[in-house]
């Protein structure tokens, strides 16, 4: 079963040096224990561009799809047997990156 861990940030999207080091340790553990699928950090919302091609004529807009105080700063995709395992990993991940983590299953 795969889960998406969304890293929810407020203020700066970038991890500082100590956070980066803790994230590296966490990532190595995920890889060693077979929970690792993929992970990545994202540029800030000011680097976002929204494309809407539902009407056939693509509309390109600067900025995120919705302005919020909290935003997605990065993510992990995790392999875990069940939600308890996933929540335990998210607990460690939240500590490592020093931010909130939202856990959602892939269908």
């Amino acid at each position: 079963m795969q889960y998406l861990f969304s890293v929810i940030a407020e203020g700066s999207p970038d991890a500082d040096e100590a956070e980066m080091a803790a994230i590296d340790v966490f990532n190595e553990r995920l890889q060693a224990d077979g929970n690792w699928v993929f992970a990545g950090g994202l540029g800030g919302t000011d680097s976002a561009t929204v494309v809407d091609n539902r009407g056939g004529a693509a509309l390109i807009t600067d900025g995120p799809f919705v302005e919020t105080k909290e935003f997605l700063a990065g993510f992990w995709i995790i392999e875990a047997a069940d939600l308890d395992v996933a929540l335990k990993l998210a607990t460690e991940g939240s500590k490592a990156c020093n931010r909130k983590v939202e856990v959602r299953p892939f269908l």
């Binding site: 889960y3 069940d82 939600l83 308890d84 299953p105």
Partner: protein
């Protein structure tokens, strides 16, 4: 016919959670487990009048519910083969025989009280899956529309399935936190029964208090060494014991000091005291529920020792430094050191309890005892505005109207 109805009611109380739990384990799907169990009980109502009550109703219900579940999965298979695979791969071990499934019910309770579910959803799901209450009964208990309650339960089952909330007793390291989550659910159910909110409900909802006690007894049977489980059960028993004396014939709340002790249930009090003594003898540091139970044990002793109650509240404040605990401590202080000292302590909580009816009710009572009627009346007015329980409102209104000036 009465015997038959009694047999079915009895089977429902005793077997519902066992059957749901056994099926949930076998099929890995709470929805199927719940519906098949409900169908098995419908079949019992149809068949037992003609066939007679089977010698082992639990086994009969489990077998019948298993068949219903397999029928349903077969029907759905025709629609969706992929789903079938997912369901069947979850756990294909055979169902355990009835009688040895106690830990299955425990799994069920932990799943229903999972921290990934919203607290009000945990309560509803526990009452449905473990308590066997119907959706309409639960909706009535919590004053929400039946369709809304149905949706809440359906969404919870969908989340359990989609996110794969596991169907098992948590690991030893997680157990204390998870047990306390389960106890919080039972305490919520009990409190809603004991001090029901809403202008049109009975002031005491006996069905909810009884169900909470029944589930607490079940958990105690499953986790006999857990002190907080024993503590919560004792707390509920000692509170429930005073039920008959708590509301006057004309629907007014009766405070503890004015209750008719002869109307208390001596059997429940004896059982509660026994549990409190058992915990004291264990020598293990008590948690919140055990301390609350001990306070209630003192209240239900022949003579109330207020200094002991204050000492217990001091202990409680160390592990739960909440303003509500401080407020209750002040009530005891009034008995030992007088209303003036107590009022000073209560007034210090103003900032944090301004929206809490019991804060204003306590102030009103202390001000009344100090003869400060004008201030007492204002405090009663605030308390009446905030109180949700009909019997409590009636009591506060009479008290206010008795003020002379």
């Amino acid at each position: 016919m009465t015997d038959l109805r009694e047999a079915i009611t009895q089977a429902h109380r005793a077997e519902w959670a066992r059957v749901v739990a056994a099926l949930a384990r076998r099929f890995g799907d709470l929805d199927i487990a719940e519906e098949a169990t409900a169908e098995a009980f419908v079949t019992a109502v149809e068949r037992w009048p003609a066939d007679g009550v089977p010698p082992n109703p639990g086994a009969w219900l489990t077998v019948t519910a298993n068949r219903k579940a397999i029928d349903r999965i077969r029907r759905e298979n025709k629609r969706d083969d992929k789903q079938r695979e997912a369901q069947m791969a979850y756990d294909d071990s055979p169902p355990e025989p009835t009688g040895a499934v106690d830990d299955e019910r425990l799994r069920l309770i932990f799943t229903c009280c999972h921290p990934a579910l919203a607290p009000e959803t945990r309560v509803a799901l526990t009452l449905r899956m473990v308590g066997g209450l119907t959706v309409s009964e639960i909706a009535r208990a919590f004053l929400v529309q039946e369709t809304a309650m149905g949706q809440r339960i359906t969404r919870a089952k969908a989340k359990i399935k989609a996110t794969r909330i596991p169907y098992r007793v948590p690991s030893a390291e997680d157990l204390p936190a998870r047990v306390s989550g389960v106890l919080a659910v039972l305490f919520l159910v009990f409190n809603e029964g004991y001090l029901a909110t809403g202008p049109d409900t009975d002031p005491v909802r006996h069905d909810l208090t009884t169900e909470a006690i029944r589930l607490a007894r079940l958990i105690r049977a499953l986790l006999p060494d857990d002190g907080e489980v024993a503590g919560l059960l004792a707390l509920m028993l000692l509170t429930e014991a005073r039920r008959a004396a708590r509301v006057s014939p004309d629907g007014e709340l009766v405070t503890l000091d004015r209750q008719d002790r002869n109307a208390w249930d001596s059997g429940l009090i004896a059982e509660g005291h026994r549990l409190v003594r058992e915990r004291l003898a264990s020598g293990v540091a008590p948690g919140r529920y055990q301390i609350l139970a001990a306070i209630n044990a003192v209240h239900t002793s022949p003579r109330t020792d207020w200094s002991q109650i204050i000492a217990l509240y001091d202990h409680l404040l160390r592990i739960d430094p909440s303003p509500i605990v401080a407020l209750n401590r002040a009530v005891a202080v009034a008995e030992l050191d007088g209303p003036e000292v107590a009022l000073a302590a209560v007034d210090r909580l103003a900032g944090r309890l301004a929206d809490y009816h019991a804060y204003h009710a306590t102030r009103a009572d202390l001000l009344r005892r100090l003869g400060r009627d004008d201030q007492a009346r204002a405090a009663y007015d605030l308390a009446i505005d905030l109180a949700g329980n009909t019997a409590e409102t009636a009591y506060l209104t009479r008290r206010r109207d008795q003020l002379i000036s």
